[in-house]
Every structure is written in C-alpha cells, then in structure tokens.
Symmetry: C2
Subunit: 336 residues, 2 copies
C-alpha cells in the first residue's frame, strides 16, 4: 500500500473527490479554486477553506502573527482569483501544548489584521490541541454570477497576464532556510515577499467587474503550476514570451549562481493572479486594474497546442508541470 | 509564562476574542454556538467551524470512516441547536504521512456519509500533511431570522428539556479505553453511542419552526457544561428534578461500581439538545418534536438563583461547571 508521500496532494484530492456525491446545480465545477452556491438573492455565495500547517507553510523566521495573517491571505487569494468579495472568516485552530498566552495573542492579532486588511472580519472559530500549529480558515464571500471568473474559459489567442512579478518568494525562502548573506535592502524586499504575502483582491474584483477575463487562478503553487492548471482546465496551451521575473530575484540569482527561470517558474507562494484576456479587451482590463493601483503584465498567449512552453533565444522549451505540493515536499525536508 | 494546559480552551477562546474586531450588526453574539450573518434575501446565513483532532476526539476503536462522519456531526449539531438548516460543508484535512490510499478513501466516505445523512453535501476542501489526523469542517446553513434559537433567552420558570438520555457515551468511552467486559447487547448500544453520534437536526428544525424555545445549546461538552453555559448566557439557574439517565448507562454503572450521576452529567460527546421552553408552550413543543419522531424529556426548570443544582432525596446539591475541555484533558491522558 502506498504511503502519502508517494501519492502527493493532487492524487489525494482525486481519491477524495471520487468518494463524494456532488451537489446538483453547482455554478462552479468541483475542481475550481473555490466553491459557489446559489441561494436567495442575486448573488452567488462563494466558499473556500485552506489550512495552514506550520511544518509545510511556515518557514523559519516567520512570526506567529505573520503565519496567522498568511493563513487569511491564502484564503482571500482564491476569492480574489474568482472575482469574489470576502465577507466573513471562520478560523479553526490546532495549537501545540507548549504555546503560551502571548503566542495565542499573536495568532489572534495576525488573524484580525489579515481579515481587516481585506475588509472582512473573523466571525467565529474553534480551538483545539494539536501537535502542529494548524490555522484552518474558511471564508465566505459573494459574487455576481456574471462576474465570477472560472478556472476554465481560455481560448487560443487570449492574452496571458499576471498581476505582479515572480521569483522573490523563492529567493526569500532560500535566505530564510539557508541563512544566506544578502545586502540589506535586497534582503528586506525578498523577505517581505515571503513573510507578508498580499492577496490581489482589489485586482481580482476590478477585473471581475470589467467582465473581460476568460479564466483565472492564483499562483500560490508557483507560476508553472498555475499555467498547467489553466491549460488543463481549458484544453489549451501557453507560449510564454517574456518571463515576469522580478528584478530583485534576478539580482539574487546572479549573485548566488542560481537559475532565474527556476526561481520565477517554480517558486510558489506568490499569490499573484494568473489570467487570460481576449486581445480586444486588453485595454479595458488594463484600465480596470490601473484604476485600483494594480499592475497587469502580459507574459504570453494561449495556444491551441496542449503544451506550456517558454520562448527563448534558442527556440521554445517546455515548462514542467511542477511546483509546491504537500506530501511530496515539506519545508522540513528542504531544511534537512 | 503559562502553557496551554493550565489555560484551558475557554480561556484561550477569551484571549482570542479580545484581539478580534467584531463585525457590526451581527444577528448573534460572538459567544454563541454558531455565527450568523444577514446578506440578501429573507434568511440568515449560519456559519460554524469545528475541528476534529484524532488525539482528543477519536477514541481507540473508532474507525477512520466513523471519525470523519463524527467531524461532520459535530458541526451539524451546533446548527441543530440553533434551528438552522445545513446547506453545504467545506473540509480541510491534515493527514499524517503514514496514511494510505485506503485510509483516505475511508475518510472521504465518512465525510460523504455524514453529509448525506443530514441532507447536505461536501462542496470543497483542502488537504495538507500534519502530524495528527485533523478534520476541520466548516458548515454553511440558513435560518429564518424569527426561528433562530439563541443560547441566551431563558427566563425563570421555563421548562428545561433534553432530546435524549445521557450517560451512554461516557460508558462507551470507558469500554473502549479500558477494554471492559460487558454483555454483548449492552456493549453494542454503549459503543454505538460513542462511535456513531447523531446530531438532533430534525428535532432542532422542528423546535425552531414551533418558535417556542427560549434558548438552546448542544451537549457535546456534557450535560453539566451545557447547563452552566445556558445559565451563564441568561443569568438564570437550573434545578434538575430528574436526571435523564439512560437505562443502559444505569446498568453499566451498577455492574462496574460507577456513579451514574457522574456518567450522566459529566460524560460529554452526547450531541443532544439542551433547551428551555415557556411552560404554556410545552405541548406545542412536544407535538413538534413528536411529529419528526423525536423525544423531548423535561428534566427540571429555570430558576432565578444563579446556580445549577440537582434535586436529590437529601436536598439539592450543586452541579459542577466541568466537562470535556481541550488542553486540560486529552484522550491520551485518560489512556495513560
């Protein structure tokens, strides 16, 4: 019998889904980033749960306040990708025995800060004893049915875009794990990216209102992973013409002999949105995003051929379907 | 600095609440059993999260299927106590490394069975690696604002009632933990009570429709605990005139030299509803419950004096404010 480490998170999710009866008439497929539900009123209810576990989601150097805030951001980010507005959060905590009153306070303050940052509130929760620190959030949001952005919907020719640059989080994580010496200013930017992730909620809501996005996903598992998920959902491929590599990540890669493409594609923990837009609506999308102070960076286009590839000087090379996956990778393993 | 074991779950919840900003205009207070929210439409949205952790919530002898089903029941039970109808569940899982594909299937089947038993569906979720088995459910329900039953609202003179007898779960747990020999038929009943708990959803919905319940709570932390919580919420006391001791629990107590009152009051894991009703509406409540095949057992009355006490042949004795509390008690400790 296979153990979990050989199964991996995606296979586990598949096994679980096969055992579950599906509620009829759902507005969103079972494999999308959130669940949607039509009750009374015009709007859809959007539901999402995402669990933070310290040993896989909290790098050394991240405070309890930051970890709790991150647990909120993880959940908000998925709503952002769908264009849904968060309303309220529930939080179930698993707390290790050694934790003190001060620790609990830091966690609670982090939860509150995360919630308020995205104009929502923690509405209730549950506390338990557990061996790991577990922060399991569930978020409720709403969305107008016409504005909900699915993971599926990309057509060949659509412009592929992201809401920010990539690679800083992978560099930041490397600094935390390997205690690498980096000039102060660069270090601060890189660490901030991993310790204080931001959900692109304003961007997601603005894009949803503009109704020009054909598909969207967040990039918490890495850019490469998100591209492959989008590709799978819509049976299209992607040609990446320009990698959205952050300057700071490029600097870090150069100074430490790392491959910048790897940092950019396979790092994860970025919480940017990865989305596709019909070319004729590009300007509309761009102005929607600019109105809320965000960025929209075109990085390539959707193609018919079912492959995700990167244009280079020597021709195009395939981008692997890999990224951060629980059970197959853990922070502890990286540290070992 | 105090560790968690000396703080206890209730103190921890208090510390957390003090750090959280409260959403304005909530229909239900922060300390009630669920959270409620008014969006569009006539109905309230009801939200609840409750986390199952194997080392505190799963006794030896409980299968993974049963544990997963129980995780659902724990959540449904709180909605039942408020008269809210569950609509959809989210489940975040923490899974230990050693688990196999077969284990995951059993968990998923248990989740599905629990959900379908209460006419709801698992809508989405998240899987993670964790040291303990963690099943963190969040449930969304609805309730007509007039029908929502709060924890607060009891007035002196109200009849105190429960939806079933108590004591079997404590006996069942003792059998599992201490491997006590018990006649087969009795054993089956006692084990069923702890391994296959039922949420009193039909009863809760029927009582809510009748609009005669002044306050309600479920009894997952034990009868004594629920009585004290109701007492605290409404600043009343309770005089228990007749303990709702299950015959099987009485038999078990007699055969093993145990105190039946202790089994009945302080066992926990019962998931019955504990509620109060205005005397003039007793018959209406009783017929509402009987219509759905449930039971309503009067056990005493609310009194002005802020004390919870039990009538005995030798006069009344106080019932302690104690029950199952995470961090102060764990199954492992009981086993040791």
């Amino acid at each position: 019998m296979q153990g979990l480490e050989s199964l991996g998170e995606r296979k586990i999710i598949q096994i679980i889904q096969q055992q579950l009866e599906v509620m009829p008439g759902l507005p969103l497929g079972f494999g999308d980033d959130v669940s949607a539900l039509k009750l009374e009123g015009d709007k859809l209810l959007i539901l999402k749960t995402d669990m933070l576990v310290d040993k896989t989601d909290v790098p050394p150097g991240m405070s309890l306040w930051q970890a709790a805030r991150k647990a909120v951001v993880m959940n908000i980010s998925d709503l952002a990708a769908k264009g849904a507005k968060p309303i309220a959060l529930l939080v179930a905590l698993g707390i290790p025995r050694g934790f003190t009153e001060k620790d609990i306070k830091q966690i609670a303050k982090g939860l509150n800060s995360g919630a308020r940052e995205y104009n929502t509130f923690v509405l209730g929760g549950d506390t338990n004893e557990a061996s790991d620190l577990i922060i399991s959030c569930a978020v409720l949001g709403t969305c107008h049915p016409k504005m909900l952005i699915k993971r599926k919907g990309t057509r060949p020719g659509d412009i592929l875009a992201v809401t920010g640059n990539f690679g800083k989080t992978a560099a930041g994580l490397k600094i935390l794990l390997e205690n690498i010496h980096v000039p102060q200013e660069l270090k601060e930017t890189l660490l901030e990216s991993i310790l204080m992730p931001k959900a692109r909620l304003r961007e997601g809501l603005a894009l949803a209102s503009s109704q020009v996005v054909t598909a969207s996903i967040d990039s918490s598992d890495g850019l490469a992973w998100s591209l492959h998920e989008l590709s799978k959902a819509s049976h299209v491929g992607f040609l990446i013409e320009k990698l959205p590599l952050a300057t700071e990540a490029a600097k870090f890669a150069k100074a430490h002999g790392l491959n910048p493409t790897e940092l950019c594609l396979y790092g994860g923990e970025e919480y940017e949105l990865v989305l596709t837009i019909k070319p004729q609506f590009w300007n509309k999308a761009l102005s929607a995003i600019k109105n809320v102070g965000g960025r929209l960076i075109p990085i390539g286009k959707a193609i018919k051929e079912n492959i995700v590839k990167l244009k280079t000087e020597k021709g195009s090379i395939p981008i692997e379907f890999k990224g951060w996956e629980h059970f197959k990778t853990t922070l502890k393993e990286i540290q070992e």
